[in-house]
């Protein structure tokens, strides 16, 4: 419990930094942000109203403290487009993004772990070469290249899958594959290395010397040890899927927070941009935090602060 609290306390300054950076986004706009939002031809009255609505007429420190207080209460302001609360707009889109990221992560693991294990078990043979090629090619295919390719192959040419559709499992497949393949490539490579390292460790020799069956040695000892680093990287990559979702959701017109972010950018709806960036970054921090905690749970040797259990 104290480790959890300590790790949470460590995440707080990072979160404060994230909120601060997001606050200053609007102030980075070259020139007058209100003019950028409303256009040069906007009436002075409208500009002043907008300036007051955004709090830009107040001193910077007052704006900052107000932003911190509102964010802490979960109030992310109002969208400039229709005045709807930003938090509500994000809440409505978040489930679609979580479903996409979850499916992408699940697909990545379902591909990567068997492939990585088979690759390690058949080291130097054709299966190993095929898995290595998959990892290499997958890591070099950005999702804005992969997405259209998958659409072309599976929707246009073969007609097997719909291009997209948030309301069906089939409609989730292509967006999830697009988002998850890069992660799968990284995890395949890592699983292979981790299994090879694990198989060469002393505790495996001990397990074999005890006369355990090869299957038991592999599944109970080698694989368990190998999955620790894989879990860590999986957790870290899960957070980055939220960032990658912006492009994938744009390609597949997926109704998630990534697409909302881009729509907000295109509409110069800065409060909504701020809200989306903040929520995605907080999700990323939370994913990293959960990864640390999961790692501690899975590996009793790990203790925060560099201490190790004896």
């Amino acid at each position: 419990m104290s480790a959890l609290l300590r790790r949470l306390a460590l995440a707080l300054p990072t979160l404060l930094g994230v909120v601060t950076l997001v606050f200053f986004f609007v102030h980075l706009v070259p020139g007058d942000p209100v003019e950028m939002m409303l256009g040069e031809s906007a009436a002075v009255v409208d500009r002043e109203r907008m300036r007051a609505a955004l709090g830009l007429d107040r001193p910077l420190w007052s704006q900052y403290l107000g932003f911190l207080a509102r964010t802490a209460r979960g109030d992310l302001g109002r969208s400039l487009r229709d005045g709807a609360p930003v938090a509500g707009l994000i809440r409505a889109r978040l489930p679609a993004t979580l479903a996409l990221a979850g499916a992408a992560g699940a697909l990545a693991v379902a591909l990567a772990i068997p492939l990585g294990v088979l690759s390690a078990r058949h080291r130097g043979r054709w299966l190993d070469a095929a898995a290595t090629a998959f990892a290499l090619l997958g890591a070099a295919l950005p999702n804005f290249v992969l997405g259209p390719l998958l659409v072309l192959l599976f929707s246009v040419r073969l007609g097997w899958l719909p291009v997209s559709g948030a309301d069906s499992a089939a409609g989730l497949l292509l967006p999830a594959a697009t988002l998850g393949l890069g992660m799968s490539a990284i995890l395949t490579r890592l699983t292979r290395t981790a299994v090879l390292d694990s198989l060469g460790a002393d505790f495996i020799r001990t397990a074999r010397a005890k006369g355990l069956s090869e299957a038991r040695v592999f599944f109970r000892h080698a694989l368990r040890g190998a999955l620790l680093p894989v879990t860590t990287v999986f957790g870290l990559q899960l957070g980055s899927l939220l960032g990658g979702a912006i492009i994938t959701e744009t390609i597949f017109a997926w109704p998630g927070i990534g697409r909302l972010t881009l729509q907000a950018i295109e509409g110069r709806d800065y409060p909504l941009v701020q809200g989306c960036v903040l929520v995605i970054a907080c999700g990323y921090v939370a994913a990293n935090l959960l990864t640390d905690l999961a790692y501690q749970r899975l590996d009793p040797r790990v203790r925060f602060g560099g201490r190790e259990a004896r």
Partner: protein
């Protein structure tokens, strides 16, 4: 170097040649429209076909290589210089300077790389210069972390302590005793940073936040081609292939370089000259810029 790494080097050399000589090699003006011939497939006159305005896709792909090269090189140069300087400062100074630098790195790394690049490009406005700026704001963190970790270890090494006891100044120690030993890991990191910058530029241009028309960019060409996948898949295919091959070549070269340096590099403490801490191994994952999966 392995045969795979040599193949990677050959692909990278081809990309560099296309970027450097693109305008001379391009058979046509990349911006000249030929509306009557729009969306025509590959032919002898137009080996990569024509886009929705009838422009030659081969010429546009060759010109697009230059955009990728300029953004990649500029981002790596700025990030490398900034990250190395800040990492050295944090590693040598320690104390509150180190603490402030590392917290700043933590905050920037709390954003998925592509998200911060998108947000910055959105507020700064879409242009090539702003893309480089946005990518460098994130990119330096990876180099700073690497250099700081190496510096923390190197400053305890016998040869650095000897230099200090002989009265060498900080600048002399850094330039003569530390930087040469950081060159290998930094070269590997820069290779992967270059690949990440190429992907990030293409991603931003794909979203309409990077290079603006009429300048040809692989990302923007791909985005345009998406609308014609059914009738003219070649419009998206060739710029997509260009991004894929370039990133593949750079990654394979980076892997080869890392393996080569890891083999050549003495283990920690073997001669007291170079620790094998957070050096070249694993550099690929420490790039702060978005990877291909982004």
């Amino acid at each position: 170097m392995s045969p795979a790494a040599r193949l990677g080097a050959a692909i990278v050399a081809l990309f560099l040649a296309a970027a450097a000589l693109g305008p001379r090699l391009a058979p046509r003006d990349p911006s000249r429209p030929a509306l009557a011939e729009n969306l025509r497939g590959p032919s002898l006159a137009h080996p990569f076909g024509q886009d929705r305005l009838g422009r030659d896709i081969l010429s546009r792909t060759l010109h697009g290589a230059r955009v990728s090269l300029v953004v990649g090189l500029s981002t790596v140069a700025i990030s490398l210089a900034l990250g190395t300087a800040i990492g050295l400062l944090a590693g040598f100074a320690g104390g509150w300077i180190d603490e402030v630098v590392m917290r700043a790195v933590d905050v920037l790394l709390a954003f998925p790389g592509i998200l911060l690049a998108i947000a910055l490009s959105a507020v700064l406005g879409p242009s090539l210069g702003n893309v480089v700026l946005a990518l460098s704001v994130i990119g330096w963190t990876g180099y700073a972390r690497l250099v700081r970790a190496e510096t923390l270890s190197l400053r305890e090494r016998a040869h650095v302590e000897s230099a200090v006891s002989l009265g060498a100044g900080p600048l002399r120690i850094v330039t003569l005793h530390v930087l040469p030993l950081l060159a290998g890991p930094l070269a590997v990191q820069a290779t992967f940073g270059f690949s990440a910058a190429v992907v990030a530029e293409a991603s931003l241009s794909f979203l309409g936040l990077g290079t603006q028309p009429p300048t040809p960019s692989w990302g923007a060409m791909l985005n345009e081609g998406r609308s014609f996948l059914l009738v003219a898949p070649h419009v998206a295919l060739f710029p997509g292939l260009a991004v894929f091959l370039t990133v593949l070549g750079i990654n394979v070269l980076g892997d080869g370089l890392r393996d080569w340096l890891d083999v050549r590099r003495p283990a920690a403490g073997s001669d007291g000259s170079m620790p094998a801490t957070s050096g070249s191994r694993g550099s690929r994952s420490s790039s702060a810029l978005p990877g291909p999966g982004a």
